[in-house]
Amino acid sequence: MHEHFPLPDASFAPLRPFWDAAATERLVMPYSARHGRIAWYPDDESDRYDWREVSGRGSLYSWAVVTHAFLPQYRDLLPFATGLVALEEDPSVRLVSLIVDCDPAQLAVDQPLEVVFRPLRFAGVDGEQMAPHFKPAG
């Protein structure tokens, strides 16, 4: 496990464009050169990816409200809503994210969401990483 876990590992090449863009508050996704669709996760070595900025709009596919620190590093985040965002560009692609600026009890399946950038910080871990979070749209 790398030193800043559970922050993302900057040395993991397949997702580096995602995290580099997030640092400048942009959401980019890998489009497959072979079939022109978003390929998530982009781990197919035979393919090439064109990382393009996407709208940051999507819908809430599903989520859990976490109240137990499954990792000690999550302790200061509790309670939090984490789940899957179906992207507007291709709803079969589900981005894992934190759902923020909401009352978790009021969330609804398929409700519209929009991206908002916030830093990720974890208890006992040095450093932070700007990351796409999602909030109710409108």
């Binding site: 996760y41 781990d43 596919y61």
Partner: protein, 406 residues
């Protein structure tokens, strides 16, 4: 194969493996379990060896007669060298690392049948054990570890708090609730029925801890919609089975239980639950029809079902996907004590399963089936059980084992 991700609910999100028909070739001649416990200081190897010793005793076999051994290659396991070191033997033993628990508890008999047919072995033992309760204090091993190390999860899921398995499956449960109207009470019915079964099973970790639906509903959520009662135990223990040619099985003291069918299904999204096209289904959709076809049975012929149940929702989805009810009707199906060993419905995880018996990843589910089919399930016997099915599950794969009493 995440880059070529699954594409929806139209049946192309997975497939059944093409397995050779091995129906009726071999039988289960011995089963054994170690003691199951919370943190005990035992190692997984000790638990597995204890289970093997008890399986040998059950089969009336000497260690020197075992000439095939199966285990799961990654993680602690008993291979031929460990077997010899423990029993003081030195004969040739055929080995396979494609055994163990989870989905392999159903497919190991298939590999054993082929090895036996090829003349490589006559008596094949498959074992699996974990000591995760003991290891938990050291933060080593445990069900979450491999997921935390997987690179895409570590870099695109864990940073957003979507980890570990209780969070994945709480998310799946919520979607199932949305799509099919499944309720919290219906998930609770599963937890309560399995606890009832464990309360009637000697050796179950939760034997002396009753659970009612009101108590379940009053329990605080840990990853809403899950309470801790929706999640499996963490325990130390192991199990083992011994397989032999069917004609030899009749020479053993116990009633003959044959391996009647095996099926294996795979999801194209691999172990990335976040990207699985059929989010509220399991690859039992592919495994169960194949396993049932090999055995020449249908869901209505099944007297007792055990299935890999890390979470209540995984039981619900597999019961649906194996065809015991329509997809989406699982919530209603499991209600009213329908899963109790004596509930008059579908006797399910009659030992209490991973939720209430022991978290030994399915190996004890197969031991339990054999005991049910032999009529040895003291205190929780299903009346006249002749056909038993185990459903194995690892996320990316599911498997089906059909056992039949001759």
């Amino acid at each position: 194969m995440a880059g070529g991700r699954a594409t929806g609910d139209d049946g192309d999100w997975g497939h059944a493996a093409d397995l050779e028909d091995v129906s009726g070739r071999i039988g289960v001649v011995g089963v054994g379990e170690s003691d199951h416990s919370k943190a005990s200081g035992r190692t997984a190897t000790e638990c597995a060896l204890s289970a093997i010793e008890r399986a040998l005793e059950d089969a009336g076999l000497e260690p020197g007669q075992i000439d095939g051994i199966m285990f799961l290659r990654h993680g602690e396991h008993v291979d031929a060298a460990a077997f010899h070191a423990h029993f003081g033997t030195s004969h040739d033993i055929w080995e396979s690392g494609e055994g163990g628990g989870m989905r392999w508890a159903a497919t190991a008999p298939h590999a054993a049948a082929r090895a036996i047919a090829a003349g490589r072995a006559k008596y094949v033992v498959n074992s699996f054990a974990v000591a995760w309760a003991t290891q938990r204090g050291e933060m080593t091993g445990g069900p979450g570890q491999s997921h935390a190390h997987e690179h895409f999860k570590q870099n695109a899921e864990v940073p957003f708090g979507w980890f570990p398995q209780p969070v994945y499956f709480a998310t799946i449960a919520r979607r199932h609730m949305h799509e099919f109207g499944t309720t919290q009470e219906q998930l609770g019915e599963i937890a309560v029925a399995l606890r009832y079964n464990a309360n009637h099973t000697a050796g179950a970790v939760m034997r002396d801890r009753p659970l009612g639906l009101e108590e379940y509903l009053a329990s605080p959520p840990i990853a809403d919609p899950f309470r801790k009662e929706d999640c499996c135990l963490i325990s130390d223990g192991g199990g083992a089975q011994i397989f032999a040619p069917l004609e030899r099985a009749a020479d053993h003291p116990k009633p003959v239980v044959e391996v009647a069918g095996v099926g294996l299904g795979r999801s194209h999204a691999g172990a990335y639950w976040s990207q699985q096209g059929a989010f509220t289904s399991t690859p039992q959709v592919f495994a169960a029809p194949a396993g049932f076809a090999m055995a020449g049975i249908g869901p209505d012929d099944v007297d007792v079902l055990t299935a890999y149940d890390p979470f209540t929702i995984v039981s619900l989805m597999q019961i649906e996907d194996m065809g015991f009810c329509e997809k989406g009707a699982g919530g209603e199906f499991v209600s009213g004590g329908h899963l109790r060993f004596d509930g008059g419905g579908l006797p399910y995880n009659t030992h209490g399963g991973l939720l209430s018996h022991a978290y030994v990843l399915g190996i004890a589910h197969v031991v339990e089936l054999v005991r049910q089919l032999r009529g040895e399930a003291e205190g929780h016997q299903v009346k006249d059980a002749r056909v038993g099915v185990y459903g194995g599950y690892t996320g990316s794969e599911a498997s089906t084992l059909v056992l039949r009493r001759r």
